[in-house]
Each structure stands twice: as structure tokens, then as C-alpha cells.
């Protein structure tokens, strides 16, 4: 019944480009969807922490794969990302993360 909380941490060179954003918010907590809140850490920070809260318990390894792939592809270091998930499938999670990266560079 309780929610599951998952924490991921990645260390790497923070990108210098990536648009002028301080924080971003996308998505909704509704069945099969999720919301993402991203905050930019101070410029020198080389770490990205991703906090996932989900009602679908027991999918930690799937999250690990999706988020590993996301960080390998997009290398968004230097931010703090919170995800509130209501049973989104990996495909939806990837779409939302892709939307996040798009908004990061659009700003």
C-alpha cells in the first residue's frame, strides 16, 4: 500500500550550454502518467540526483534501466530531479524525460 521511494545519483561534467533555466515542471500525477520537477544546482555542481516516488511498488530495476539510459544519452549533470509517478509505463517515463530535456534546451 505504501509508496516506494527510489534514489539515483550520477556524477559527471556539468554541461555549459543547455539553456537558461532555473527550474522546470512538466506532467501530471494521473493513472499511467507522472510529473517531473527539475531544479538546477549551482554551476559548479557535478552531480545529478533523481528522486522517484511511485505507487507501483517493485519496479526499481526497471527504473534503474530507464534512468541509466536517460543519463547516458543526455548527460544532464548539475540538477536535482523529482519524479512523482502514478504507474507510468517505461515508454511514458522516457517520453516525459525527453520532454524535460527539450524544455531545458528551449529556455
Amino acid at each position: 500500500m505504501a509508496l516506494e521511494r527510489l534514489e539515483f545519483e550520477f556524477v559527471g561534467e556539468p554541461e555549459n550550454g543547455g539553456g537558461d533555466w532555473e527550474y522546470l515542471h512538466i506532467g501530471h500525477v494521473m493513472s499511467g502518467d507522472l510529473e517531473i520537477l527539475a531544479e538546477r544546482l549551482p554551476a559548479e555542481a557535478d552531480v545529478t540526483r533523481i528522486h522517484v516516488t511511485t505507487g507501483a511498488v517493485g519496479f526499481g530495476s526497471v527504473w534503474q534501466m530507464v534512468i541509466d539510459e536517460f543519463m547516458t544519452t543526455h548527460e544532464v549533470y548539475g540538477c536535482e530531479i523529482w519524479i512523482n509517478d502514478d504507474g507510468a509505463t517505461p515508454a511514458v517515463v522516457k517520453l516525459r524525460l525527453w520532454q524535460l530535456v527539450k524544455e531545458m534546451s528551449a529556455k
Binding site: 500500500m1 527550474y23 515542471h25 501530471h28 500525477v29 516516488t53 512523482n84 502514478d86
Partner: protein, 326 residues
């Protein structure tokens, strides 16, 4: 920023989310959100029940401007637990009403005239099924506090309600929406107390078939609410149509806006009871019977006509006190 604002004006109001509606109903670039997602003020009650919380608890509140008028905006998000009112959601709404009242007191003490932006307006976009069942006590309390502050705002801060979301406005929030000064709805918008699904569940499909969309909309939809004068205006389902109607109402003198209120005094309650009596009459089996009672003839044609034609031709409940200021 203004590009996005412009784009949103042509989109259906029903498709926008609560934050987009709040931004797009104000002047471009004027909306400032209070207690937004970044504050992460979430429901403490949902996680123990296995429901993921949302950072804004399904409601957007903030300040903006319509023309020169300062507005306090409240916008409910139906995508999150059906727009249900919980403790945080409700408190944000209550505090927004109080903020509007307090802001008005301050502007008045500085002697600002309405023309100089000295009249605060409260604007609420309803998109909710009412109380959030997981935290019903707190939700109910919020409902009564909101209605209490509406009474306190009477004749001081005009309250404009809009209903045009996909859920509409049901449950306790149906009462709240009925207590505003001016209510604007679209064809998509629905207003009621007990939702169609609940009626069907309790008294059976023969009484009310919630799967019958035509029946649901002609009973709770904007057109019927316009005819029975629960809604003051019906507009097209575009962001622009809602914004233009809101700007128009905002420009009215306070007395005119206040005169549109339909409950809050004994006389008004008696007036409402007349409508209830009429609806309880055996001859009224369907909302369209009521339309006929008010002198509407070609009902199907009226139902299919576009909004401007409907507004021009619909014959509404001849409520005594409203006739003169229509």
C-alpha cells in the same frame, strides 16, 4: 512567453491544464504563481494510502492582472485525483479568497479608485468532483471555509467562476460554484451536485443513465445551466472566449457584479425553491421539459445551434429579480 500565451488563446479551454488556464486568463506575462510546484507542499494524507501526491496538490493559485484590474486566480487541476479537494488543495483555495479580501482592504486604505486598478477581483476556474475522498474531513472543512469567505467578500470583492474543464464542477464544489457572483460556462462545462455516475450507482440506470452523454450534458451542461440561470454566460470552448468574457465582467461596476449572485440571502433561497418546486412537478421528466416550460419551442434546433445563436434565442427562467439587469 508571449508566444505561448498567444498560442493558448486559440486552444480549447477544456484541453489546457490548470496552470495554462491561469496564465492565459490574465494579461500576458502578468501571472505570478504562489505556492507552486517548487514549494512541494503536498498532501500528507495520500502517501500512507498508496496514492502518489502531486507537488501543487492539484490547484494553481496566484496573482495576475486583467486589463488594469488585479486578480487573484484559483485554478483546479482535474487530472490529479479528479480535481478532488483535500487539505492542502482546500487551504490554498481558502487562503486565496482571504488574500483577495486583504488585498482589497489595503488598496481601499490607499484610496485607489477601481479605474486605477483599486478593485481586486477573485477568479476561480472549477474543474473538480468536490471533496477528495481520501481526506474528506479536511476537504469538507475547506468547502465551508470557502463559502464562508465568499459571504465575507460579498459587495467587497467580486467573485467570478468559470467552468469549462473536462470534469466540470460537482459535489460540494457545485455549491461553491453556485455561490459566486458571476458564473461563466462553456458547452463542455458541466455543473451539478451529485455526479451522474453516483446517481446511477445509487438509484439505478432507469433513473439516470450516466453512459448516455447526451442526457448527461443536457441535464448538467452549460446550456441547461444558462437556461436555469445557474450560469450567467455561456461561451465557446476556447481560452480566448473565456478570457474576453472575464475581461468584460471585470469592467462592470461592483454593484452590477454583486447583483448577479443567486444565493446568500433568504429571498434568494426562496427564489431558488421556486425553481426546485417547478422541477419536482410531474410534468417535468427531462431538462428539455423545463426549457419548454420557459417558452422555448424548437428545442433540438436550439440545442444544435452555435453558442452565440443559442444565447440570442434561448428563453431563460424568468427569475424575478434578474430581469432588469440582464
Amino acid at each position: 512567453m508571449d508566444d505561448r500565451w498567444n498560442r493558448m488563446q486559440d486552444l480549447p479551454f477544456s484541453r489546457l491544464n490548470a496552470r495554462e488556464r491561469a496564465v492565459a486568463i490574465c494579461n500576458p506575462g502578468s501571472f505570478i504563481e504562489l505556492l507552486g510546484p517548487r514549494n512541494r507542499l503536498t498532501s500528507p494524507h495520500l502517501p500512507p494510502m498508496g496514492q502518489t501526491p502531486q507537488f501543487d496538490d492539484g490547484i494553481v493559485v496566484g496573482l495576475g492582472k486583467t486589463g488594469k484590474t488585479p486578480v487573484v486566480v484559483v485554478s483546479q487541476e482535474s487530472r490529479f485525483v479528479g480535481g478532488g479537494v483535500g487539505e492542502v488543495h482546500g487551504t490554498k483555495m481558502v487562503m486565496a479568497v482571504r488574500l483577495a479580501l486583504r488585498g482589497q482592504e489595503i488598496l481601499e486604505s490607499r484610496g485607489r479608485s477601481p479605474e486605477e486598478g483599486g478593485q481586486v477581483v477573485l477568479l476561480i476556474s472549477f474543474d473538480t468532483g468536490g471533496v477528495r475522498l481520501q481526506e474528506a474531513n479536511a476537504g469538507l472543512l475547506a468547502h465551508s471555509e470557502v463559502m464562508d469567505s465568499f459571504q465575507a467578500a460579498r459587495g467587497k470583492v467580486p467573485i467570478i467562476g468559470v467552468i469549462g474543464g473536462t470534469v466540470g464542477c460537482f459535489g460540494g464544489m457545485g455549491f461553491v460554484a453556485s455561490s459566486v457572483d458571476v458564473l461563466i460556462m462553456s458547452d463542455v462545462g458541466r455543473l451539478g451536485l451529485t455526479g451522474p455516475g453516483v446517481i446511477e450507482e445509487v438509484v439505478g440506470t432507469e433513473e439516470f443513465d450516466a453512459a448516455n452523454r447526451a442526457l448527461v450534458w443536457r441535464t448538467t451542461g452549460g446550456r441547461h445551466r444558462f437556461i436555469t440561470r445557474d450560469a450567467d454566460f455561456i461561451v465557446e470552448d476556447t481560452m480566448k472566449a473565456f478570457r474576453e468574457k472575464v475581461s468584460e465582467v471585470v469592467s462592470w461596476p461592483l454593484e452590477k457584479i454583486s447583483s448577479k449572485r443567486i444565493i446568500g440571502t433568504e429571498d434568494m433561497v426562496l427564489e431558488q425553491m421556486r425553481l426546485v418546486e417547478l422541477a419536482a412537478d410531474d410534468k417535468i421528466q427531462d431538462s428539455w421539459d423545463l426549457w419548454r416550460q420557459f417558452g422555448n419551442e424548437d428545442i433540438e434546433c436550439l440545442w444544435d445551434s452555435d453558442v452565440s445563436e443559442f444565447t440570442a434565442h434561448a428563453r431563460r427562467w424568468p427569475r424575478g429579480r434578474i430581469g432588469e439587469c440582464d
